[in-house]
């Protein structure tokens, strides 16, 4: 890679600093919004409008006594919040947070022994992609001359990497619950692990439909594709809804926050944690929120693109603003949904994942495959998405209600 180590290092430092600061102020925003939605005022004593509240909270966490109960497994107890935060931050390494260009695709190597017919067929299919080496080199040089607003640019398995690392966050929760050595934490950890594992499947399946269209798991390519062709939410609203539900479950946020529900489990997996370790769990959760909001806006809402305002040739400032507006919108959706919908019971939660989301995701994928195979217009997908949603509703009215 040509990108200098220094540039990457500076990007990492800026990104981490901004994300940690944003997470701290997301706590403020959450408390304020929660208060406003409940007809009260929220924190307003510490600084104007309570804006210094996160700083007060941070200082409190720093100065609090580091309590490690006697009955816990010390190593795992201390390791768990670190894993939770580390994986959350690592997953954000490939997620763009500003204007990016897509790298040119690698030239397709011609097989040495392929027949002419095969080659012709392959070249026809790959006709959308340039496969000339010189042109590729030129474009690659041009790509590298721009600064990409992402820590690790041009990772071809971008979104797969994010999902894989996010799955590792389950370890943080499981270890936290197990090491705490008490029944509430244990139950919370088990519930959380079952929930996270179950909801990763519709999460991944819903993305595959999008990936089929953009032709790559590379997040920058996905944005590029949408900048050309229109936002994915227009063509695949069902995939959007499935992904949205999946990320609510991944972030352990209401309506899927049974693992940390106060009314049910005292605190779930973070019952025994206090002080900075608890703060690390919290930061990990909010980092997940930020990362998944970024992902939502990249994969379905077109990242930095907006039909007329921010196209591929606009300046970086307008692209960044458009991107951030989308991310903030999703964060507000997270918070609004938290204070609107009641929590799922655990069996309802698992039933939703396995009996509703996975079949719908599979059917959505099959529709996407059919549409792509027969090269129909993507608007057919919009029709099939709506048909699937309505069909699912109709089936639900016929089924005998679960006990």
């Amino acid at each position: 890679m040509d990108r200098s180590l220094l540039v990457t290092f500076i990007t990492i430092v800026c990104f981490l600093a901004v994300v940690q600061g944003v997470c701290a102020y997301l706590i403020w925003l959450e408390r304020k919004l929660a208060a406003w939605m409940q007809d009260r005022v929220g924190p307003n004593r510490v600084g104007p409008f309570g804006l210094l509240q996160p700083i007060a909270d941070g200082l409190k966490f720093l100065f609090k006594e580091e309590l490690i109960p006697n009955h816990v497994d010390r190593l795992l107890f201390l390791l768990a919040p670190s894993i939770a935060l580390m994986t959350a931050l690592l997953a954000a390494a490939v997620v763009p947070f500003g204007p990016t260009n897509a790298a040119p695709r690698a030239p397709v190597p011609l097989w040495a022994n392929a027949s002419q017919a095969e080659k012709a067929q392959y070249e026809a299919a790959a006709a959308r992609y340039r496969y000339d080496q010189e042109m590729f080199d030129e474009e690659m040089a041009e790509y590298r001359s721009h600064y990409q607003w992402v820590i690790a640019p041009n990772v071809d398995i971008g979104i797969l990497f994010t999902f894989a690392v996010t799955s590792l966050a389950v370890y943080g929760i499981i270890l936290g619950g197990w090491a705490s050595n008490d029944k509430f934490s244990f139950l919370g950890a088990l519930r959380s692990s079952a929930q996270l594992i179950s909801y990763e499947i519709p999460l991944g399946l819903s993305i595959v439909g999008v990936v089929l269209y953009s032709g790559s798991l590379n997040l920058e390519q996905i944005i590029q594709h949408q900048a050309r062709e229109g936002w994915n939410i227009l063509y695949q609203p069902l995939a959007f809804l499935l992904f949205l539900t999946g990320v609510f479950a991944e972030c352990n946020r209401l309506p899927f926050d049974l693992p940390e529900a106060e009314q049910e489990l005292v605190g779930g997996y973070h019952t025994e944690y206090s002080g900075m370790k608890f703060a690390l769990f919290f930061l990990g959760e909010y980092t997940h929120v930020v990362t998944t909001s970024l992902l939502l806006s990249i994969v379905f809402l077109g990242g930095w693109s907006f039909p007329w305002i921010a196209t591929a040739d606009s300046g970086p400032a307008i692209k960044f603003i458009v991107f951030m507006v989308k991310v903030v919108f999703f964060i507000l959706v997270y918070m609004g949904v938290r204070w609107t919908i009641p929590r799922f019971r655990f069996d309802q939660l698992m039933g939703l994942a396995w009996k509703v989301l996975i079949p719908l995701a599979l059917l959505n994928l099959v529709c996407a495959m059919i549409v792509r195979e027969f090269q129909l217009t993507p608007w057919v997908l919009l029709a099939t998405s709506i048909a699937l949603i309505v069909g699912a509703g109709l089936i639900a009215t016929r089924r005998p209600l679960a006990a």
């Binding site: 939605m37 007809d39 009260r40 309505v390 509703g393 639900a396 009215t397 209600l401």
Partner: protein
């Protein structure tokens, strides 16, 4: 008595239509309600800059009322001490120095910490002598300090009348004080 079949009421679960089964319209409606509440006025009272608006019948600290001549109205009939569920009123009667009443309280002590602020003494009093005011922020540095004697209770009267928060609501002969609102 055994249960009859006619005692049992069978209720059917309401059938959900397709829009309800989708849950999405309901969620959208819920989000609308939540967002509407963001813009409604807040009901928080910013204490201590704003004091809460208390209704006139708020049951706070007791006071002993004075009559028009400034004498204590209480006739030491022991009705309030008898009515008190927490037994916090302690009265010692003595022959009154004034001609128009037989007795007056030589000693009248209420233990404000034992009191449950139920207002039974206020309801029981036949001469509207004892009332509960709207003073709610009562503090003391010792338990002995919180046993209010007659002078203290009369001083509460003087203060609340001066501050105008609890006007004199007595009405000899007519319905009890709880039925009279200040004009």
């Amino acid at each position: 008595m055994p249960m009859l079949a006619s005692d049992v009421r069978w209720i059917e679960e309401p059938k959900l239509g397709i829009l309800e089964q989708l849950y999405l319209p309901a969620i959208a409606e819920g989000l609308q309600t939540t967002v509407k509440h963001i813009f409604k006025p807040k009901i928080t009272v910013q204490f201590p800059e704003q004091q809460p608006h208390l209704p006139p019948h708020y049951r706070g600290v007791h006071r002993l009322n004075r009559d028009e001549q400034g004498r204590v109205k209480c006739v030491a009939c022991y009705m309030c001490a008898t009515a008190c569920p927490a037994h916090c009123i302690d009265i010692v009667a003595a022959p009154s120095p004034w001609p128009d009443r037989e007795k007056y309280p030589e000693l009248f002590v209420i233990d404000e910490l034992r009191c449950i602020y139920c207002g039974m003494c206020e309801e029981a009093c036949p001469v509207d002598a004892i009332e509960l005011t709207t003073l709610y922020d009562l503090t003391g540095l010792s338990r002995e300090e919180m046993m209010f004697d007659k002078e203290k209770l009369l001083s509460v009267f003087d203060e609340t009348v001066k501050a105008g928060t609890d006007p004199i609501r007595t009405s000899a002969g007519r319905l009890g004080p709880a039925s009279e609102l200040p004009k």
